[in-house]
Symmetry: C2
Subunit: 219 residues, 2 copies
DNA sequence: TTAAGTATGTGAAAACTTTAACGACTTCTG
DNA sequence: CAGAAGTCGTTAAAGTTTTCACATACTTAA
């Protein structure tokens, strides 16, 4: 548990993977250096915010020059522990679960779904996206030492499965169900609530009008 | 454009759909009233925050009593424009797009995907989750007056499709691609970046340890 | 060498968000 | 009906995040 760096603001921490991805892009394009201004345009985060974010880790750049892409990339690779693959479990191989299993998170992320569980006998024993689907009854036996789970079961099953995941040693859950699950205080749950995101977008559109309605040519 | 209510904090606005959903649940359960404390336990938002959020809309509750579920529900139904169905388009009927098409957002949300587009001829003409899939070449002709789009195409296609959506009159985009798209300033884009959410969860687990490692019985 | 140009890192301010605390009023109980 | 209990709405404080603005230091090119 790397504690030497503990008070990076949460808002900053959430942006790190985004920076990392775009640095990877720049690197693949052969770019050797980048300024906070350029990065700002790419990731759509204010350049002062980017400089501030980076500064929490020390002086990563050089005045008058910007940041060395290779150096920054390798710094973030370490910071984000991208040298070791993070292995996760997925529970609920339905519509959403299947989509995730078919997606290669390892691409620029070094995270891999290792095993999946479902209650539906027809799914059990098959492979989806190269991942074996086990029966949910075998959760405790087969989950091994995985500490992160993606939850894509029906809302009604969410709390029960969560309790079992916690008991089985999982410490982080990415919850896609609409249920707000109860967990002991040492377990971290992140909610991704797609229906709410959609509804919020619609609300903002109606109630938070942006600038100019239109003027023929923009952007 | 309902302007009478314009300075509700964004953080509050984002929680409204969550409140609305849980009020619906309570209502189905036949509950007549609810306190900010009960609601707090259900949605996992501090009760003071809930009271503060509600207070932006006036005095919705009664001291010593709490909130009347039916009243609150109908208030939020109006506030969130849930009386009219919001119709949206989906672009990219792949793994993720298919999952969304098979999901019934209308359940407690009154949002409906009306039409889908894809570049793959084999998909065009089929129905997925009851939604007709059209060819992307027909986007401009068939999108009609829809003003919200869900973007689930490959990242490489994201900017091109976005430009066409904007030109076709769409004003809100829910972007699931890892691309950070450019839009004129009057267009609203919300990003849902699943790979980043997963990576951020992993980062938080490693670097932001929560309380007690464990003590046998919790929660 | 020097001058012009560039871009960082950060102090300070501003903006936004959450949380604590409590007076005021309502409901409940006996 | 009176006192106890409950709960809101809000003032004020604390905490978090973003943004401004600039001294400083490096780069570039002549
Ligand atoms: N599909 C979407 O677009 C979408 C959108 C928003 C929210 N969600 C939420 O995501 C979750 C999954 O959605 P979905 O569309 O994939 O649903 P789904 O019904 O397609 O898939 C659920 C899967 O979980 C399995 N399952 C059921 N009970 C189980 C249990 N006890 N243990 C293990 N597996 C079990 C089912 O067999 C099924 O394969 C739901 O909670 C849903 O509300 C989905
Ligand atoms: N599946 C996941 O779990 C997941 C996770 C994170 C991010 N994403 C992102 O979501 C997006 C979609 O992912 P996916 O897994 O569904 O991909 P996918 O390849 O399964 O689906 C993409 C679909 O878009 C269609 N398409 C391609 N070009 C098009 C165009 N110009 N116009 C219209 N349609 C076009 C393809 O025919 C295909 O059906 C991608 O950008 C991906 O990076 C997906």
């Amino acid at each position: 548990m790397d504690m030497e760096q503990a008070k990076i603001p949460q808002a900053t921490a959430k942006r790190l993977p985004l920076y990392y991805r775009f640095l990877n892009n720049l690197h693949s394009q052969g770019k050797l250096r980048v300024s906070s201004k350029e990065l700002s345009e790419a990731v759509k985060v204010d350049s002062a915010t980017i400089r501030r974010d980076f500064s929490y880790f020390g002086a990563l750049g050089k005045k008058g020059y910007g940041y060395n892409v290779e150096y920054l990339l390798s710094f973030f690779r370490k910071t984000l522990d991208q040298d070791e693959t993070t292995r996760v479990a997925l529970i609920g191989v339905g519509n959403l679960g299947t989509a995730f299993l078919n997606y290669n998170f390892t691409k620029n992320n070094n995270t891999k779904i290792e095993i999946a569980f479902d209650a539906n006998q027809e799914r059990v024993g098959t492979e989806v996206g190269g991942v074996r689907v086990e029966h949910i009854d075998q959760l405790e036996e087969k989950i091994g030492d995985l500490s992160v789970a993606i939850l894509t079961v029906p809302a009604s099953a969410a709390q029960g499965i969560t309790d079992r995941l916690v008991e089985a040693g999982v410490s982080g859950i990415l919850n896609f169900t609409p249920a707000r699950i109860n967990v002991p205080s040492h377990i971290r749950v992140h909610h991704i609530d797609l229906a709410i995101e959609l509804q919020a977008l619609v609300y903002f559109l109606k109630h938070y009008p942006l600038n100019e309605p239109e003027t023929e040519e923009d952007q």
